[in-house]
Symmetry: C2
Subunit: 385 residues, 2 copies
């Protein structure tokens, strides 16, 4: 099979001028003249056209049809044209399951996300889907909802569907599925978790750059009491973010108080809870950096309910830069983690492994960086703060 030539649109633009005509509902009139169906015609009647039907109409062998579809160069232009005409006329669509069965490749990539209702992930999925479709792949999406059993079930289903690779975008909860996936020799990409397996790639997320920039920004504004609402410690990524925060604070020569670092859960609710815990403190910080945007938005909400104004009374910084961040009140200052970059890296990692596993120069590690986006939720602290 010619993997490099899998047509992205159907049929490929080169051959047929307007591929979307294919989908016209016009009744198809077949010209089988002289062709005798291999099986009883009563069985064939009313069925969708298959490769044999196309071959019969185009008066070629099924191998030629297959070669044409797969962009093999071994077909003469004359036959190629006839085949595409027949395909068009019959409104034929190849059966992916059959192709997968014989070729051993499904052109399906799985993507498992932590929680699809966190806007970070739909944006990631959208980018991933766009890239995949552009390369002739389909995607299977699953949301693990941070539950080990669900995650395991996602993985099993993907295995049954014979995906060519899985992007595990759970940011640190992946252990339970790794074994099965790796054991079956399926290419995987992980975010932030290195695995000593030839089929596993890693996307290293450089949070440090963005977090350091955020701290510098806050310090230059005059803040000295900066809190951190961390993500759940079950997530590698949450721990990395917290560590980067600590390093940045230390680099700025600032103290870290134990009670200023609170473990939340990356949800809106968690942000509210974290804020309330912070408010109880005698020495309340003047700025809060959050492990993700959902937490930050929760803080915005809680501060509003408590009558504290952002940014006058309190500065808030998020992390992710979800589309929404621009529309919060006030617009959220946040550390951007590009979904498009992440999706690109994940896809590239999988594609390499799936299409050229033997290549000696496979890239096993991808870097995605972060940067600070300053909006309206940060300002100098109050003089008496």
């Amino acid at each position: 099979m010619n993997h490099g030539n899998w047509p992205t649109c159907w049929p490929p633009l080169i051959v047929v001028e307007n591929p979307w005509e294919l989908f016209s509902p016009a009744p198809v009139s077949l010209h089988y003249d002289g062709w005798v169906p291999r099986r009883s015609s009563s069985k064939t009647a009313g069925k969708l056209p298959d490769i044999r039907t196309v071959a019969a109409v185009a008066k070629v062998s099924i191998a030629t049809v297959s070669r044409t579809i797969n962009g093999s160069s071994l077909v003469s232009d004359r036959l190629k044209k006839r085949v595409w005409q027949a395909i068009k006329q019959l409104n034929y669509l190849p059966n992916t399951h059959a192709r997968t069965l014989v070729s051993g490749r499904s052109r399906l990539f799985g993507i498992i996300v932590e929680n699809i209702t966190n806007p970070f992930f739909p944006e990631l999925i959208r980018s991933f889907e766009e890239i995949a479709v552009a390369h002739g792949y389909e995607i299977l999406v699953s949301s693990s909802n941070s539950d080990a059993a669900t995650l395991a079930s996602c993985a099993r289903r993907m295995l049954e569907r014979k995906v060519d690779g899985v992007a595990v975008m759970t940011f640190g909860e992946e252990e339970p599925v790794l074994d099965q996936l790796v054991h079956r020799g399926i290419p995987i990409v992980l975010a932030e978790f290195k695995l000593e397996d030839p089929k596993a790639s890693t996307i290293v997320l450089d949070y440090a750059t963005g977090i350091h920039a955020a701290i510098r920004h806050l310090v230059s504004l005059g803040h000295r009491a900066i809190a951190f609402l961390a993500g759940p410690h079950s997530l590698h990524s949450a721990i990395t973010r917290e560590n980067d925060f600590r390093t940045a604070i230390a680099a700025a020569g600032l103290p870290i108080r134990k009670e200023w670092v609170i473990e939340c859960d990356h949800t809106l609710k968690g942000g509210v809870a974290g804020y309330e815990q912070l408010r109880k403190l005698r020495n309340c910080p003047s700025a809060i950096v959050c492990s993700n945007d959902m937490t930050a938005i929760g803080v915005l909400r809680a501060a509003y309910m408590a009558g504290q104004r952002v940014p006058q009374d309190l500065s808030v910084v998020g992390l992710d830069d979800v589309d929404f961040a621009e529309y919060t009140l006030p617009p959220l200052t946040t550390i951007r983690l590009s979904r498009a970059d992440l999706a690109r890296a994940a896809f590239e990692a999988l594609r390499q492994q799936a299409e050229d596993p033997a290549s000696p120069r496979i890239k096993r590690e991808f870097l995605v960086s972060t940067s600070l986006v300053v909006r309206g939720s940060t300002a100098p602290p109050r003089a008496d703060g």
Copy 2:
């Protein structure tokens, strides 16, 4: 194939106590004693176990393995047990593509959404996935991004993957794909669009109830100048919502000014633009009802930037009640459209058609209602308003 018995977890709980043990990475030691592989052993070596491997280990025929897997009652308990043991031992997973190829059913449902980055849809997808997985189905997600070509491509890919049905959740842009889907005899469900085809079902959305409640709420608060930020007129649902708004306003005995109904595009940006257009008016309305929550959140943002306070200076009502609505500033009063109900209806419609297409009492129409959720974005208008 026994469709009613497709196991939801693997292997079914009835037979094996802890199915997740299956995924243990423990090296599998095979006992092929006496069994001769059908093809050369060099080819079989290193390959994933298939149904023949299981049959050999369990010392039964592949037919028995197949029957066991599919929950056929024609297998004795003795053999059933042996088969499940072999499956467990080999860590065997059936190949979905092969099953689909021969059975003609993929146990795959497609779901096409308008725009996955609108939080309404991830929530819908999550519910749909949960229900589908619980019934042994897998889902294929696609986002049409309100683009006809993309939509057509989604549909074609789903057709190639031989989905058993498609939920077209684009709320009124579906025409381009309907033909192909219906033409191929695939069951489909549409939101709000009735199609005269035996394979098509419709989910009727009763916006009127929620919209009437919203208008009554606003009127009881004292509002008389109520604007509507509509969705794009290319969407059936947007038009329905607008009509229901007009009816509700008329029912309340209020006037509708032409300039108070503005066509937006259901995005955050659209809400901002709509608000700004409204602000230019001499007789500015004291309340704005929006065709969806994204628009309403955009309005909240624009009003904040313009220095208008919500709800003191302006009341805002959304529609959808996305998870976020509770966390906007102020919390958004909105008309709830339950994603869970919608997902349930969509799945049920597809399942019926897919599993029992001949049934005389197939339900072709499902109703999902709406209700008003009052939060903090509505209040009496200013005395001078």
